[in-house]
Amino acid sequence: MKYDLSAFMDGELEPDAAKAVLAELKRNKEMRDAWLDYHLIGDVMRQTGIITLNLSEGFRDKLALEPAILAPRRPMRTRTKIAALSAAASLAAVAAVAWVVLQGNADKVKEDKIAATVQSNAAMLASLPRYPFNSTTREYLLAHQEFSPSTTMQGVAPYIRTVSDGGEEANR
């Protein structure tokens, strides 16, 4: 494990292995001693510190008196890209699912509309007063129904009336 610690210190360890080293540093005194030794060696070689300064003895006692910190987790800069990509991927997935669902709903809405129109047309047809049309009147109405203002409002109702009336006539 010290082998990994050496690479970890140099920032040359994979993230998963680094996590294992950090966990080991927490529970293994020998590892912490090695951490101290390796950093001391680096400082001596670079001449970048007071070699004899070692706060180990007193500092740990002082730190023990400090309340443990429980800071809220913040998104760190290194995670921003991953978080943004994750969010974008999630959004895309939700959009795809929503599109499929809405497409299905749209078909259903269309079917419902048609059913409602047929129903209302049937009800409207039933409510119309019956006139004794003869064949001349029927032909006249059929020929001029496109000029009737009711055509756009009632959809296919006038046409249905004509045809069904024709059917009744034939049955007679």
């Binding site: 010290k2 050496s6 140099d10 912490r32 070689m45 007071i50 004899t52 740990r60």
Partner: protein, 199 residues
């Protein structure tokens, strides 16, 4: 993962109650911070006290550390402010901002000044440690000595060292580890192994 990322991981752990993680940062930066503070505090005991105080302040301020700057930059600022406050409290003149710059301080060659702040015992200990490190380094096989020197003094990555030495990265990793262990082996009897002395 670079040096800054390592510090960031340790900071995040400390921010969530892991005091051991903060202790690792203390071990890593105590000597550097001490050296920085020795620029305007002369007494060795005072330097140790102020350095310790600076680390305690940094620990208390950890929740406000957002990782926008490197941990050591943030720590050094706390160290400087702690030292200034200490000097004011002691009725001494604190350095102005223009007198002191963190970036400059890192480049600061302070060999002579360190002699002033060290006690005779510390001076002797420092010399013994330095001598042991240098002698062991000189006695190492050439490939181990080159690998650790390129890493510790030149600050090169394993990939760059591998290119220079014409060997695989795994070999570089192994050579640096073996060099460190060989030197640490010689240092351990000097540094003590009792629980009180070391973490």
């Amino acid at each position: 993962m670079g040096d800054r990322e390592i510090d960031q991981q340790l900071v995040e752990r400390a921010q969530h109650g892991d005091k051991h993680a903060f202790e690792l940062l203390v071990i890593k930066y105590q000597r550097k911070l001490g050296r920085l503070l020795s620029r305007f505090i002369r007494d060795a005991t005072e330097i140790e006290d102020v350095t310790q105080e600076a680390f305690i302040k940094a620990y208390r301020a950890l929740p406000s550390f957002r990782g926008e700057s490197a941990f050591y930059t943030w720590l050094y600022r706390i160290g400087i402010n702690t030292a200034k406050n200490y000097l004011v409290a002691m009725g001494r003149r604190a350095p102005t901002t223009t007198e002191f710059d963190v970036a400059e301080a890192e480049m600061f060659e302070d060999g002579e000044q360190l002699k002033d702040v060290n006690t005779p015992e510390n001076e002797l200990m420092s010399k013994q440690i330095a001598k042991t490190v240098n002698q062991t380094l000189q006695n190492l096989p050439g490939e181990l000595r080159t690998a650790i020197t390129l890493r510790e003094i030149e600050g090169l990555s394993y990939e760059d060292i591998a290119t220079i030495m014409g060997c695989p990265i795994g070999t570089v990793r192994s050579r640096i580890f073996r060099a460190r262990e060989a030197i640490a082996e010689k240092l351990r009897p000097m540094l003590g192994t009792s629980k009180d002395k070391r973490w």
